[in-house]
């Protein structure tokens, strides 16, 4: 029990750190005084938020499907917690930049869009998660040139790194071979 509480505290501390980190960057964005660039940055962050919301729902659907066995289920819940930390940090930054965070779609809407009814096995769930994580990593890499605030671009790279870490773990669970060539993400 003590260990669980410690883990929860660590989670809270990590979230707070992430939010504080991004809040610091937000001040830099304001300091630049470039309204158009800041507005565009808010747009990028909101698109990222929509992506994170979808990932949270996808992992929820996977966790509730009854298809995931331990320890895969525990890993899925851990990865979902990472996406929740990303979500919280993005919402805090969007608000501090004067934007309005987009609302999350319902799990049912996400399930329909991702055709979750077709998931029949643990492997199916892992394949979906693997595909979404790779797409998310590439999305974060692909928007880097568009940020007006280079500090936010760096945050995007850090978010991409988390998604790549998820993809790598999922690929290991699926016993997929590692990429034969370098620079396989963002390409």
């Amino acid at each position: 029990m003590t260990q669980m509480i410690d883990l929860r505290r660590r989670g809270v501390l990590l979230s707070a750190s992430a939010v504080a980190l991004m809040a610091g960057y937000e001040k830099m964005a304001f300091a630049q005084g470039n309204g158009a660039a800041s507005a565009n940055d808010v747009g990028i962050l909101n698109t990222a938020l929509a992506l994170e919301n979808e990932a949270i729902s996808a992992y929820q659907l996977g966790a509730q499907s009854g298809l995931l066995q331990k320890p895969v289920l525990e890993v899925a819940v851990l990865f979902q917690s990472h996406h929740k930390e990303h979500r919280d940090a993005l919402i805090a930054t969007i608000r501090k930049l004067g934007g309005t965070p987009v609302a999350a779609k319902s799990d049912a809407e996400v399930a329909k869009a991702l055709n979750a009814s077709a998931l029949k096995t643990q492997t199916d769930v892992l394949r979906l998660a693997q595909r979404l994580e790779k797409g998310a990593a590439n999305a974060y890499i692909g928007v880097i040139p568009s940020f007006g605030d280079r500090n936010l671009a760096q945050i995007s790279a850090r978010l991409a790194a988390d998604e790549v870490m998820h993809w790598t773990a999922l690929s290991g669970a699926l016993q997929d071979p590692l990429p034969a060539k370098a620079l396989s993400f963002g390409a």
Partner: protein, 113 residues
């Protein structure tokens, strides 16, 4: 004239199969062919007006745009969306011209054009 010839050459050389791989790995984080997700559904995108996929909540900028998606506009969009339609929300860029051409070839194929 030379630019036009180069564009035709690029389109002719485009590889829809490679475009599918690129679409799934690079666009698939936000898009699907047949479902609105973070971004709009893409089947039928080639040849349709920007902001016209049914039931997708577009930005005002894209909704009010007069852009029609074909080779040239999709290439400009994937190069730098904000330069083509200021105020859009995608912002994802594909740097390599060959990759853009292949993705466009795939989208065109999936649009039956």
């Amino acid at each position: 004239m030379l630019a036009r010839a180069a564009a035709v050459d690029t389109a002719a050389a485009a590889d829809a199969q490679h475009g599918q791989e690129l679409y799934e790995s690079r666009c698939g984080g936000c898009h699907s062919l047949d479902a609105n997700r973070v971004g709009p559904a893409h089947r039928g995108v080639y040849g349709r007006k920007a902001g016209s996929a049914p039931n997708f909540a577009y930005s005002t900028a894209v909704k009010s745009s007069t852009v029609v998606w074909e080779e040239k506009t999709l290439d400009a969009w994937l190069t730098n969306p904000q330069a083509l339609i200021p105020g859009q929300r995608m912002n994802f860029r594909v740097a390599a011209a060959g990759d853009r051409a292949d993705i466009i070839a795939y989208l065109r194929q999936q649009s039956g054009k």
